[in-house]
Amino acid sequence: MSVHEPASMKPSGPPQRGGGFSQAALDEIAELRKRYPTAEALTLPALHIAQREWGGWLPDEAIAAVAAELGLPVAAVYGVVTFYDLYHQKPVGRHRIRVCTNLSCQLRGSEEIMETLRQELGVEEGEITPDGRCSYVHFECLGSCDTAPMMMVDDEYQENLTPNRVRQIVKGLK
């Protein structure tokens, strides 16, 4: 388990939860506030927390909640959300798979990894499987070129992949 991400992913569904942050999240933000001289600096951490709170993605209401909590113009926070690859504006699967396809992985077959996922999950890149279990995207270099090809499943690096290993990994995702 990592520091900022949850141990278990909440079901995605339509997570318009209504309301804002949970009290635990607000406490976490307040604690982080001590680290920075400005509230604006909490934008990235708060968005990470919001994404966790809202089931792995950031609906408009989550972005608005972050803006309200930090006292920032919501358009500015929206600009931040759309800038970074790790923030999602669309619902994602319970398990998010990111396949590195940059040069080092491309040289060692990352396209076939993508192809394997497409066959195994039966959906296109960026789509969610009908059971809400998985979604996958290609990604830029994830900094594990020595174990290429590789992919990131939720927060775990899965390295030295082969199509067979990908099938095994996908089968293991619940």
Binding site: R35, S104, L107, C141, G143
Partner: protein, 435 residues
């Protein structure tokens, strides 16, 4: 080559180094203890004398960078450790953080003492969740062990150190893009001057150093600048260096060598070319470095020699390609990366990287024209030197070297109206069981 004593990676394979105690057992925090007994300026001088150059890509003297920070303790100053390792092919910093977090913390603490910074942020890329977790735990240990906090190792020097997670943007590895991101905005690089040493994080003077750069610092303090200088090619290229080797080699990985090891030695060290196939080309310093041809195999891998060869050592991420590699396709992939990662604020980079990707894709698919190489070079010249930050310059390196070194392959694509390299089914060709 002769056996070389590992310095930066000495704790790799010692899982106990993850704990404060385990780290200290192997001489950990002696460098910090020594530094705290020295005047801050003396620490800067020592680092300057060592010739340590930034390991993030630009190769700027670390000691000199520190000396630009205004003296005195009246105003806040910051150290931001650049752990946003995103250059394709680079994975050395992740190793340092995952296997020896205290080494980095010690390096950061020494730097903070040297420039009188009371706060350090380790800006780590958002994808590095495991390294984040390990660092957070190490920081907690360090606070509890009196290494950080109100009195660093009992010296009275107050220092706070935090991990700040990025969220997936290559451009945040650029100094000022990182500062913008740290301050909670889009990671769009700032106009310079002012440089971060004058106006950096939260408007205060700020040092920004790469993970590997800072990891070198404790060793310089413990063993002295002269020891450090003795390693490497010459006065300007000193110290141990991590090389991240990937692509078509037998044992890809992070290898530590004295800076200036030849590429041939390095290749031998990682088991040679994959399946013994011939070398075609290699990138010596990450995706932004121009590609070198196989005939450069004996090049010394230090800052100046690689620059002289028309490329750059950059982050020393070496991507090796064998004779089955389509260079147009490889460069096209890098162009896609730079287009994807361009922040979008400045015109040449936003429009130019996009155009380069579209053109290279077209050539790759056999729809190129005779004039394309010349247009590619012209686009590159309009981006190069004109963009707001270095990303524009980085994006053109591979493309220019493609035209310069592999024009024949471009021509072949255009002549054949198709890619002459069969899109090899990598795993069908026997790697599934062998890998």
């Amino acid at each position: 080559m002769a056996a070389f004593e590992r310095v930066l990676t000495r704790n790799v394979g010692r899982p106990e180094a993850l704990t404060l105690k385990g780290y200290q057992q192997n001489g950990g925090y002696e460098g910090l203890a020594k530094a705290l007994k020295m005047e801050p300026d003396a620490v800067i001088d020592e680092v300057k004398k060592s010739g340590l150059r930034g390991r993030g890509g630009a190769g700027f003297s670390a000691g000199l960078k520190w000396s630009f920070i205004p003296k005195g303790k009246d105003k806040p100053k910051y150290l931001v450790c650049n752990a946003d390792e995103s250059e394709p092919g680079t994975f050395k910093d992740r190793l340092l953080m995952e296997y020896d977090p205290h080494q980095l913390i010690e390096g950061c603490a020494i730097c903070c003492w040297a420039v009188s910074a009371a706060t350090c942020y380790i800006y780590i890329r958002g994808e590095y969740t495991k390294a984040t977790e390990i660092l957070e735990r190490a920081l907690k240990d360090a606070y509890e062990g009196g290494i950080l906090g109100d009195s660093v190792m009992g010296s009275g020097f107050k220092l706070n150190m935090y991990v700040h997670r990025g969220a997936g943007a290559y451009i945040c590895g650029e100094e000022t893009g990182m500062l913008e991101s740290l301050e909670g905005r889009r990671g769009q690089p700032r106009v310079k001057p002012p440089f971060p040493a004058v106006v950096g994080a939260f408007g205060a003077p700020t040092v920004i150093n790469n993970v590997e750069t800072l990891a070198n610092v404790p060793h310089i303090l413990v063993r002295g600048a002269d020891w450090f200088k003795a390693i490497g090619t010459d006065e300007r290229n000193t110290g141990p260096k991590l090389y991240a080797i990937s692509g078509h080699v037998e044992r890809p990985g992070t290898y530590e060598y004295p800076i200036g090891v030849t590429f041939r030695e390095m290749l031998e060290g990682c088991g040679g070319m994959l399946k013994g196939r011939p070398l075609k080309a290699f990138i010596p310093g990450g995706a932004s470095a121009p590609i070198l041809k196989a005939d450069q195999i004996d090049i010394k891998m230090d800052f100046d020699t690689v620059a002289k060869a028309g490329s750059m050592l950059g982050s020393a991420a070496v991507i090796v390609m064998d004779d089955t590699t389509c260079m147009v396709r490889s460069v096209s992939r890098l162009a896609k990366f730079f287009n994807h990662e361009s922040c979008g604020q400045c015109t040449p980079c936003r429009e130019g990287t996009n155009w380069l990707e579209l053109m290279l894709k077209r050539i790759e698919h056999g729809e190129g024209t005779e004039r394309d190489s010349q247009v590619l070079l012209s686009i590159c010249s309009h981006i190069g030197g004109n963009s707001l930050c270095a990303l524009g310059d980085a994006a053109i390196g591979p493309v220019q070297s493609l035209v310069k070194n592999f024009q024949e392959e471009i021509d072949q694509h255009i002549r054949d109206r198709a890619c002459p390299f069969p899109h090899r089914r990598y795993f069908d060709s026997g790697f599934e069981n062998g890998a």
